[in-house]
Amino acid sequence: MSAKTKAEQNEAVYHTASEWFIGLGLTIDDVELGDVMKYDVLRVSGRLMEREQQGDGQTEPDKTR
């Protein structure tokens, strides 16, 4: 079981998706690919984290419509 709380895990994944692509040279037409991919990286990471810990559940019901 993780030593990190869910909030801490969320923060770690978020920073990965937010910042850690920067400087890797993944840019197209002066746009950071990491920033464009961020939403999808969060989705994939969140899904993998949840599956790792809770079987096949899914996180975060959406609160916008």
Binding site: K4, I28, L33, V36, M37, V44, Q53, T64
Partner: protein, 413 residues
């Protein structure tokens, strides 16, 4: 495939994703600009309502294709090198709780990046082809978090083209709800629906002087009373012959953050609603989320429990007008729509999210019966008007669509 229009156009081009949630302001904007949609099916839909528009894929040619393939191949090569770096950083920060897939990131990460790079490079190559023959006045997006819309906004920003975000829905993340991509906007300007949305994006770091409040254009249709059903008509059309009607608004999973209990919460909520419907001897109208959710699950649950009910993704005004009370799974914007139509609401709370107003009523599933009753008894309370105005400044008349058009024209001079 149609050819791009290169015959002395008299209007500049406005870029839009083409999501139907934004269709309300397409016509007004088309009087000032030639609209170009990122989603090709939007052009066909626009044509069906007599709107002339272009689609970005009309600018897909062999030059764009070759440019995109070359660019994405170079990015994939860099991704091979970066795979271990990114995965290593994530595993280190997660203290051993990282998903096992990150141990073998070099096996799948480059392919994952390549897929995104190809889509992004092709989008940019087509935008470049478009910009070679037409002047782009600006872009207006309904959200700028997903890859295609964020990619569009960032490409425009890198070229000094004005970018405007008209949020398609308010996000009800609490201030203490943790980091979340929905707090961010990359666009130069935000046209907010009301004070709540203004404050939400300011708290997220967007400059206050770059946010204008215009109201909620996607809710304008709820003010056209002559086109809306009365409660009696709604019940007649839905074939409901019962004194008590509850509308239950479903939700969907997004997985961009690690919080809440996801599908387990939804199952609990549905079970509580079915229990309540039986206690009240009510008909349960399940208005499922337009973006997803599994209607089969709803259907099986109603059949298994012999619960009288209806399931629909559509007919919003009928479902809400027919109901004595709305119960939403989480603080959905359907509560604002219900209040505009005069139907009181409550919602089942979830981690990290809440309305920032005393209304709607709220609780967990454990005391849902009491909460639902309090909500139902509040019908007609003037406080609901204050609630709607907080989230939709165009209340009580509507007309946000015209304000969006005026503001876009002003900002895209």
């Amino acid at each position: 495939m149609a050819k791009p229009n290169q015959t002395k156009p008299d209007k500049r081009v406005l870029l839009l994703p083409g999501h139907p949630v934004a269709q309300g302001y397409w016509r007004g904007l088309s009087e000032h600009y030639d609209l170009c949609f990122m989603y090709p099916q939007a052009m066909e839909y626009a044509a069906s309502i007599s709107l002339h528009a272009m689609a970005l894929n009309q600018f897909h040619n062999s030059d764009a294709q070759e440019s995109a393939l070359n660019t994405s191949a170079q990015i994939a090569a860099k991704a091979v090198q970066s795979a271990q770096v990114v995965a290593g950083r994530l595993m280190a920060s997660l203290d051993g709780s990282a998903p096992s897939e990150f141990n073998s990131a070099q096996d799948w990460w480059p392919g994952y990046v390549l897929q995104h790079a190809q889509a992004m490079a092709l989008q940019y190559a087509m935008l470049t082809q478009l910009s070679n023959v037409r002047e782009i006045a600006g872009c207006v997006v309904h959200e700028d978090v997903a890859p295609d819309t964020r990619g569009l906004v960032l490409w425009c920003k890198a070229r000094g083209i004005p970018t405007i975000h008209v949020p398609h829905a308010a996000c009800h993340l609490r201030p203490d709800g943790g980091l979340d991509i929905h707090r961010e906007s990359r666009s130069d300007w935000i046209l907010a629906s009301g004070s709540y949305e203004h404050d939400f994006y300011v708290a997220g770091g967007h400059p206050a002087d770059r946010i204008a409040i215009v109201g909620s254009p996607q809710m304008d249709g709820l003010y056209a009373e002559e086109t809306l059903p009365s409660r009696a008509e709604a019940r007649r059309v839905l074939d409901i012959d019962n004194d008590r009607v509850i509308c239950y608004a479903g939700t969907w999973t997004q997985t961009t953050a690690i919080r809440g209990r996801g599908v387990f919460e939804m199952d609990e909520g549905l079970h509580a609603m079915i229990t309540l419907a039986h206690e009240w001897e009510a008909v349960l109208v399940i208005k499922s989320h337009p973006n997803g959710g599994d209607d089969k699950v709803f259907e099986q649950a109603l059949r298994k429990t012999n619960t009288p009910g209806i399931i629909t993704k559509h007919y919003l005004s009928y479902a809400l007008r027919a109901a004595d009370v709305l119960i939403a799974q989480g603080p959905s914007n359907i509560c604002v729509e219900a209040a505009i139509l005069g139907t009181p609401s409550a919602y089942i709370q979830t981690e990290g999210f809440d309305y920032a107003h005393a209304l709607p009523f709220r609780s967990g599933v454990d005391r849902l019966g009491v909460t639902a009753l309090e909500a139902m008894d509040s019908r007609g309370d003037p406080a609901w008007q204050d609630f709607v105005t907080f989230y939709n400044a165009a209340h009580p008349d509507g007309g946000a669509t015209d304000k969006v058009t005026e503001k876009v024209v002003e900002l895209c001079q």
